[in-house]
């Protein structure tokens, strides 16, 4: 059984990823009141596009340092997914803004299926090996006198660092800039915001773009950490990220970040200790159940989430 520090580190890593994806869900839900069911699959497309870019770059310029290759792939994937998210909004959601609530949800399911199918066609159904371009040597954490020190590596630490810096940047964007004010205004009341000279459509499009880029970043980091990418990899992270967004308070950016980190920690510590307590019977194979149980518990006992909701008032 892994120690507390190990589970903590694992949890922080997965939690950072959940937080990045949760931001996309929470921003869209805050403004449009719809769950972007396709968001998890945007993550998947980001990872696979990044993979293709890596393969292309490594074939064309083999002498390039791996970190640069990864950077290149990340930038391209983020740009691609930003555009993809905008296209999804335009095609699947824009006409349904005033439709009954079931319609955008079902449309989102359709987009999700479509993205998975396209991924199956382009990158085949088999899991693709994702090259680990950051150093893989294990780093011992707090070795001290412990017999089983926690082990991590540069990839995981980079993931946590990048995710945290991105989240801080986004917070600064939303709280301190003019555009951030526009986003908050549209999230509060789109009609009045338009009276104030803000174009809600423009804000919505940029919101989707940011969400898509963040999902791509999370996808590439996830693929780097686990060494593989495949067409179904977006489903569970998508659901868990939504859970994280709800846990923190839907529509609330800080809530999404907190919810993501918290969910990652709950999952890691929970399965670790439950597994130890039941001698491996109820262990990591029930890991996904944790997220769902958290979701149900939050919705039953504290539906507004830990930090409270911030939703647009729909006409």
């Amino acid at each position: 059984m892994d120690g507390f520090i190990q589970q903590l580190l694992n949890g922080l890593m997965t939690g950072s990823l959940y937080a990045l994806v949760a931001l996309g869900y929470t921003m869209v839900y805050g403004i449009l009141r719809i769950i972007n069911f396709a968001h998890g699959d945007v993550l998947m497309i980001g990872a696979l596009v990044g993979l293709s870019v890596i393969r292309l770059v490594q074939a064309t310029w083999p002498a390039l340092p791996p970190v640069l290759v990864l950077l290149c792939a990340t930038v391209v994937a983020m740009a691609f997914c930003a555009v993809l998210a905008v296209v999804i909004e335009r095609v699947a959601y824009r006409r349904l803004r005033h439709a009954p609530r079931l319609a955008p949800l079902i449309s989102g399911i359709g987009v999700s299926l479509l993205l998975q199918t396209i991924a199956m066609l382009v990158w085949t159904r088999n899991p693709q090996m994702f090259p680990q371009l950051l150093p893989l040597e294990p780093i011992e954490v707090l070795a001290g006198g412990s017999a089983h020190p926690a082990i991590t590596n540069v990839t995981a630490l980079t993931t946590i660092a990048i995710a945290l810096s991105v989240m801080v940047t986004l917070l600064v964007l939303v709280e301190r800039t003019r555009f951030g004010r526009a986003m908050r205004a549209v999230a509060e009341n789109p009609q009045v915001a338009s009276l104030m000279g803000i174009s809600p459509n423009r804000v919505i499009v940029i919101t989707f773009a940011i969400g898509g880029a963040l999902a791509a970043l999370a996808g590439i980091m996830m693929a780097s950490n686990y060494g593989s990418a495949h067409f179904y990899m977006g489903f569970l992270p998508g659901i868990k990220a939504f859970t994280a967004a709800v846990l923190g308070g839907i529509g609330n950016l800080k809530g999404a970040m907190l919810g993501g980190l918290l969910l990652g920690l709950i999952e890691a510590l929970g399965t670790g200790y439950l597994g130890a307590a039941t001698n491996g019977v109820f262990g990591s194979n029930y890991q996904d159940v944790f997220a769902f149980i958290v979701l149900i518990a939050v919705l039953v006992f504290r539906p507004s989430g830990l930090l409270g909701e911030r939703l647009a008032t729909r006409a």
């Binding site: 699947a92 449309s107 359709g110 199918t117 199956m120 194979n285 159940v289 979701l295 149900i296 919705l299």
Partner: protein
């Protein structure tokens, strides 16, 4: 000529046509395509039962349930556990009690399956009563996944579901001494097993249809529609939304459970991989694309979408061979592509479905 009849007469004519089609379908399809197509019809009937159940939850009461396949799974596993040697192999004490083996009659399995599934429906529905549409969808999706993960992992500490290996050797249906898994000679006709099962399923579809139509035209049905359209107004009118939502879940789940029990006996084998999210989405697609809340639409949606995989397999393979010399794209992928596009296009251009209520056909 048909238009000149009153609506009631038109409905009766439609029902008559449907009854005739139901009785003759396997013969027509069997002659055209052979036994594989009749088997597809059998599965279509199972899907119709499922979709009618989901129609009550989604179409009438407006509760988007994305984990509906869980009730199908519950019914199937119950039937499998009660009519296969699995439990006796796991628990020798039980085997000593039942030396003749675990063979429960279908007459007991079906009502029990319905009851247990209805119970699950209530349990799943209870925490979700206050949830908005989108949250409800994700929570029910979560429940569906929890059930699937449970089924896949309940082989430790006590082996109940046999994990990913599933439960095999499930008894076929034995009706009044007639074993439906064998070709039988009845009324002078040679009926292969798929035909026998077809008529069994058809009989149950008729029962479920009857229940649905009666429910639709009752106070309960009207209350459901009221809840779907505006829950607060319904409450203001004295509708007990809690009880009615739970009732919708329970009845929908019961139909799902019945369908699942029949599926287990038909296939002779159950495994957790038959009950994935994709199946839930497939049933949802049948209801949504066919016509939410409109029974003929739902049946149409089922028939089209259940026949689709087989049709694609039969056509896309040879077509691609002819055009490209090899099969470039697996028909399964084409099917999923079709589903995705169909759902998006339907919501954009025809949100009420192919055959919505009020369209005279």
């Amino acid at each position: 000529m048909i238009q000149s009849l009153s609506p009631n007469k038109r409905a009766s004519f439609g029902l008559l046509l449907f009854a005739v089609a139901l009785v003759l379908a396997p013969w027509i399809v069997g002659h055209a395509g052979g036994n594989t197509w009749v088997r597809t019809l059998d599965f279509a009937l199972l899907y119709i039962m499922l979709a009618l159940g989901l129609n009550i939850v989604v179409g009438y009461a407006g509760l988007l349930d994305m984990g509906f396949i869980a009730f199908y799974a519950v019914g199937a596993y119950l039937a499998a556990l009660m009519s296969s040697p699995h439990l006796l192999q796991q628990f020798p004490a039980l085997a000593a009690l039942l030396p003749a083996g675990m063979h429960t009659s279908i007459w007991l399995i079906l009502p029990l399956g319905a009851l247990v599934a209805a119970g699950c429906g209530v349990v799943l529905g209870a925490p979700t009563l206050r949830l908005r549409g989108d949250y409800l969808a994700i929570v029910t999706l979560g429940f569906g996944e929890i059930i699937r993960i449970l089924l896949r992992n309940l082989d430790r500490p006590v082996n109940i579901t046999n994990g990913p290996k599933g439960i095999a050797q499930v008894d076929p249906v034995n009706l009044l001494g007639v074993n439906l898994a064998r070709t039988q000679e009845l009324f002078g006709l040679r009926l292969p097993s798929v035909y026998l099962y077809y008529y069994l399923f058809a009989a149950l579809v008729v029962l479920i249809l009857f229940a649905c139509i009666r429910l639709e035209r009752s106070r309960i049905g009207r209350a459901w529609v009221a809840i779907r359209e505006d829950e607060e107004a319904a409450q203001a009118m004295g509708v007990n939304t809690v009880r009615l939502k739970l009732l919708a879940f329970a009845i929908g789940a019961a139909f799902g459970g019945v369908s699942g029990a029949l599926f287990a006996s038909f296939q002779g084998f159950v495994s957790p991989e038959s009950f994935t999210l994709n199946e839930s989405i497939a049933v949802l697609a049948m209801v949504v694309l066919g016509g939410m809340g409109h029974i003929p639409g739902v049946i149409l949606g089922c028939v089209l979408l259940a026949a689709l995989p087989e049709a694609l397999r039969a056509s896309m393979g040879p077509l691609q061979q002819a055009l490209f010399g090899q099969v470039l794209v697996d028909p399964e992928i084409i099917r999923q592509l079709f589903y995705g596009l169909a759902l998006i296009l339907a919501m954009l251009y025809r949100p009420a479905g192919l055959w919505p209520k009020g369209v005279a056909r």
